[in-house]
Each structure stands twice: as C-alpha cells, then as structure tokens.
Amino acid sequence: MNESNEAVIEFLGVRKRFGTQEAVRELSLRIPRGCVYALLGPNGAGKSTTIKMAMGSLRRDAGSIRILGREVCDDPSWVKQRVGFVGELQFIYRWMRIAEVIRFCSSFYPTWNATLCQELVRRFELDPRKKVRHLSKGMTVKLGLLLAIAHEPEVLILDEPTSGLDPLMREDFVDGILRNMCDGRRSILFASHTLQDVQRLADRVGILVDGELLVDRPIDELLRTTKTIRAVLTDEKSPRRTPHGAIVESVDRREWSVTVSDFSAGQVEQVRSQNRVESIDAVNMNLEEIFKAYVRGRRNVA
C-alpha cells in the first residue's frame, strides 16, 4: 500500500431509506489513493446499496458521494470512465458474443488497454466466439472482471467479486490480478463475504451492520486491538461491570467472555478488580471472529 492523503472515494453523511426501512444511516467514510478497502457486513447490511449509490445507479436520500474529487451525481459519465465496476450479479447482454461485449464496452473508454484485454481473455480462458448466455456463472464473473479491469481504472469497485469463482480461479484473481492492481495508485472498494480474501488484500476494513458503519479501521490495527477477554467467575452470578469498549459478551454458567475493541492490559485489570473472577486471560481474534462479534453485538443491542 502506498496511501496518500487524497481521498479517492468519499462518503459524507449518506443516507438511504427504502420505505420505512433505513438501508444506510449517516454513512461517512474516506478511502485514500492506493488503499484497498473491504466493506464487510451480513446480508441486508446495506453493502450493495452503498456500492450502487457510489456507482450512481441508485439515488441517495441525503449526503454526498465523491469519487476522484467529483460528486458522482454531477458528472456520472466522467466518474464511470475512471471506475471499474463488478456487480454482485452479472447482467451483461446475454445475446452478445464475448468479442462483441468487449468491442461494445471498449468504445466507451479512451483508456482501454487492448493488450491487457487480450491477456485477460487468455488467462480467463474465455472463448470470444461464445455467447454470454452460454457462459457458466464463473465464466460470466470472469468476463465482468475483464471488462472492469481492461480500461485500467483509477478506482475499482467490486461487489462480491469472487462469488461464483472456483477456489483456484478465486486465488488467481485475488493474488494474481487484484494484487497487481494494488500498485499504490489505484484504490479498491470491495464488498465481500469471503473473509480470507479480505484478510489477504485489504488495508482497511469497514463493518456495516443494519446500514450503520460500526468499524472503519486499518485491518492490522483492528486485528491487533480487538480481543476477547475470557474470565471464569467465582460463582454463577452475572458479572457486575463490563469493561469499556465491549462489543459483545456472553455468559455460560461461570464462563464469561467479552470482546473488546481497543484492548489494553488495563481492561483486564479493570475486569479483575470490578468482578469476582477466578482466572482471566485475553485471546487474539481473527477477522471472522471479529466480524461475528460486531454483528452479534449489534443484533443483541437491537
């Protein structure tokens, strides 16, 4: 990563409501140049809605979204020429042949790199004569990726880009293609459920639950500072005081575990001094555990 301070993608107080349901609440986030930002969240958290608003294909109710310094709504064509996008589902014209899709799309991008396109056609083993309707889901995803990458965009926005790819192709895509794209000049915003990919790629992580951004931190910092404090209580009474920064807690008979953000040794001492505990320790967490803790914590509160 080679982040500069310039914000390439910027959400400011973005809100979106579908009827009575608030899909995105006061979303504010800033993705600097060169940053790979992973947006995580359970189904229905508002990830795709956020991405659709960023692509200018869904009207927001409030707030502002700027890509490369320009308001998306003000100049959508300018923004789309500089953004590569792969949606959750591929709706490429099914009646077109692959060669026709490529020719069609290439005409809209002055920066289209025909050599890179040919290389990707070979790498993805796409037959240019084949019609899109005859492609498998995985092959359609590959075609979508090719179209998003071949014009060498400054920004990549990917909504579940690897869903539908087999593990080998997914690995090739993540390690071979996306990693090459992360050259310090491009910024990538991607929503994913595949936390292994996120852990391998992302510089920064956002966790979106019920339309609210609960976490927006560098991934290393998140992994380093989020821990589960496990304590064995002296009796089966509920713990008196939860430590500051608790995300989620559970009590199973005498075993009490509480996940905390911004962990410090002081929090362990705080738990020990404020509760009657027999033993206590702090455990590191992986991204999946952290993600689940935030989602459960939010749902418990709700």
Binding site: S57, K80, F91, R94, F104, C105
Partner: protein, 220 residues
C-alpha cells in the same frame, strides 16, 4: 454513440424484421389478390391507395411495439443495470433508442405516404381519398409512439408498455366522446380535427416529459 446504435439495432433486430414484413405484406397481398382483376379492370391505382391505407393502419402495431420495447426490454433482462454502470450518459442512451424507433417509424410512414399519395395517383385510375384517414392515422401513430415510449421509460414489462400505447388512443377518444356527449364540445363536425389536435398535443407533451424524466432519473 455508434456502439449504442449498434446495440439497439441488434436488440430490436427481430422487431425490425417484423416491421419490414408489416410494411411490405399489405402491398404483396394486394398485388396477389388484384393481379387477375387488375389485368381486366386496370384498377392498380385504387389497389395501391387502399393497401397504403392498410399498411398505415398496421404500422400502428409495429410503431407501438418499437416504442414500448425501447427501455423495457433492457429492464426485463436487467441488462439496463449493466448499461447504467458504463460511461454513456442517459441522454446518449435515450437518443440512440429514439434514433432507432423514430427512424423506423418514419421510414414506414414515408413509404406508405409515397405509395398512397404519389404512386397511386400516378397509376391514374379511380382511388379513394386518403386525406381523412391520414389525418386520423398520423396523429394516432404519434400518440401510440409517445405513449409506448413514455410507458417504456418507467415500466419493466414490454407487454404493459405496449398495452398503455394501444389503450391511449382509445382513452383519448373516449374522453373526447364523453366531452361531446355531456358538454357538446367538440361539436360533431369538429370531432375528427379535435381528436387529431389532442392526439398530437398529448404525444408531444408526453414524449417530452417522459424523456426529461428518464434523463433525470438515477435508477436504470
């Protein structure tokens, strides 16, 4: 823009073939039926004029289909969502669709008018007057085009948009009839011209409003 035109042409290729068939078939049927009679009676001009009229009437079907299909087709298979993520502006997308649908409609009308008003008189025998039917069919054609187009900009189903296109002249006629029945306006002698004027006004306003709304809309 060329790529969009190519795409719209390819998407509507089947409909263009149907349009060509609808354009040619009344004349072909007319020639086939009249061939023996014409040799004895020599009424080629009358036949061409009558078939031009029939072709104008049947062209309403294809014109409404072309307009109703303009946006709904891509919304139905959701390729509109793919197109929405590409750089062409909404205005370019709209202009490309309009260029195709309008030019085909125009060609159909020009061919039929030339056949009815130039070729038929040149053949020099008895023929029906086309002025009245044309003054009814041409505004109706504009109305079904605009209604289909307008419905297509907001609806998902091509069938629904086509239904709106075909129902609109009936609704307009019904409103004018009710106005005449209850208020005596327009008078019986002016009913035809009132319909024509109303159809053109509704068509122009409907087309303009729906086009502006489509361009300003964010969702595909």
């Amino acid at each position: 823009m060329r790529a969009l035109l190519w795409k719209d042409y390819r998407m509507n290729r089947a409909l263009l073939i149907v349009s060509a068939f609808v354009l040619v078939s009344p004349y072909a049927i007319g020639f086939a039926v009249q061939y023996r009679n014409a040799q004895s009676t020599g009424m080629w001009g009358g036949m061409v004029a009558a078939m031009a009229l029939a072709a104008m009437a049947t062209s309403l079907l294809t014109i409404s289909l072309l307009a109703a299909n303009a946006f709904t087709q891509e919304r139905t298979d959701r390729s509109a969502e793919f197109l929405a993520c590409l750089p062409p502006s909404r205005l370019c997308i709209l202009l490309s669709k309009f260029a195709l649908a309008f030019s085909v409609s125009l060609v159909m009308w020009v061919v039929n008018l030339v056949m009815g008003l130039v070729v038929a008189p040149a053949l020099g025998d008895f023929q029906p007057s086309l002025a009245d039917p044309v003054s009814f069919l041409l505004p109706t054609s504009a109305l079904v085009f605009a209604a289909g187009w307008g419905a297509s900009t907001v609806m998902t189903s091509p069938v629904g948009a086509w239904g709106v296109a075909t129902a609109t002249p009936l609704v307009l006629g019904g409103i004018l009839y009710a106005s005449w029945y209850y208020f005596g306006v327009p008078s019986e002698g002016e009913f035809g011209s009132a319909y024509s004027v109303a159809a053109v006004v509704v068509a122009v306003v409907g087309f303009a409003v729906s086009s502006v709304l489509y361009v300003r809309r964010v969702e595909p």
